[in-house]
Symmetry: none
Subunit: 124 residues, 4 copies
Amino acid sequence: MIILDYRDKRPIYEQVVDKLERLIVGGALEADTKMPSVRSLAVELSVNPNTIQRAYVMLEQMGYLYTISGRGNFVAPESEWRGSKVQEMLKECHEMLLRAKEAGVTKEQLLVQLSKVYEEAEHD
Amino acid sequence: MIILDYRDKRPIYEQVVDKLERLIVGGALEADTKMPSVRSLAVELSVNPNTIQRAYVMLEQMGYLYTISGRGNFVAPESEWRGSKVQEMLKECHEMLLRAKEAGVTKEQLLVQLSKVYEEAEHD
Amino acid sequence: MIILDYRDKRPIYEQVVDKLERLIVGGALEADTKMPSVRSLAVELSVNPNTIQRAYVMLEQMGYLYTISGRGNFVAPESEWRGSKVQEMLKECHEMLLRAKEAGVTKEQLLVQLSKVYEEAEHD
Amino acid sequence: MIILDYRDKRPIYEQVVDKLERLIVGGALEADTKMPSVRSLAVELSVNPNTIQRAYVMLEQMGYLYTISGRGNFVAPESEWRGSKVQEMLKECHEMLLRAKEAGVTKEQLLVQLSKVYEEAEHD
DNA sequence: GTGGTCTAGACCACG
DNA sequence: GTGGTCTAGACCACC
């Protein structure tokens, strides 16, 4: 389900949050899907259960999960996070683009990047 | 010259590196300008000299400064860093755009951001 | 594990880096071996932990170690450094040979040195 | 006569020693040539006279110069230094070759370097 | 216990 | 006065 990179400088719980967020945002995990239990995921990743617990709590605060006591953790519906996530990404992109411009990156170079990411091949 | 943000969770030396890098990349500090001495900047920021020393060493490794022992630290010429900085920014932008696409941001939204940043018709 | 040479004028952290680099490059420390902790090596060498910390950071930047925060430092796999190390050595050798030639050393003398080092007929 | 590299990490007096040594060893300065006075060289290099004085003293100790009080410093005859210099270089080369071999450099790669430095073009 | 950061001192070489 | 190194402490986050 997840592969941890132990060479990554970030704390493990943060990596777990990040990977799971991408799975949810990317649509790999649909709404109301049951997440693996804290303990089972901890075993799977060879990690302390506290670490997974912490990740789940963060994901819940971010609106990606909801918890039913005694039942487990479940993926929240898109309406809970889609809008705010897009806004957040747009803001981050804006700041990064500003920094890129400041560093001497041209508009053309960025358009190339944009094309590479959204390569048209799809509706042709 | 610099204002530290104590709410920022990043280490102080990293903040210093970041701010100075922006000043240099942004052109506020010209090549061969003498930087404040390690000790004086430490006093100005109410910080330990070791912390500033560390920041200066990092900036030197990144190619933004050159050091003449016993004389001081000086801003390196653009040729030392311009190219690599642009490459680094392009790579970062690529990754951010990928994440943005993943999160559901449309190409149109990003084009708007791009235009806002590189607005060529300020009062047209 | 390491013996410091107090007559050596180089800074301690550099000596530590040098010795450990040789141990790794020479194959005495295999990939993924756990290095002694910063504090324990500091005690062993009767040196301040900061000094060891600095050495480990340098070795990490050079690709010889990888760090897992809260777990320790580990020897990186050969692929991380073998190529660049060979390139570096070749460049250094080139410069040294130039200086040797300049000083009047003949090609024959150098061929003798080369044979001595790579003596392929130990007991032939 | 000499060009200093202010970005060089080594102390200036050491750079001066090194450059002058090469000029003498390389044959650019013949035996009994009068060296520029301490003060004039200091002015030429925009450097403190003490620095040049220190360099001259070192060169004298190394056998490259001799001093005649009130007259100046002169280049010593080859017999004073040629032999020891060659020995020193051979020793240094030996150590470097050992380290190169240890790092995984092959004999063939070193032979290539050797050929590049002593390119045959001369007696062909 | 581990690495990461920081402080408050100190000494040295260099110019 | 400048950078470079080092010590002896301390606190923090992570696991």
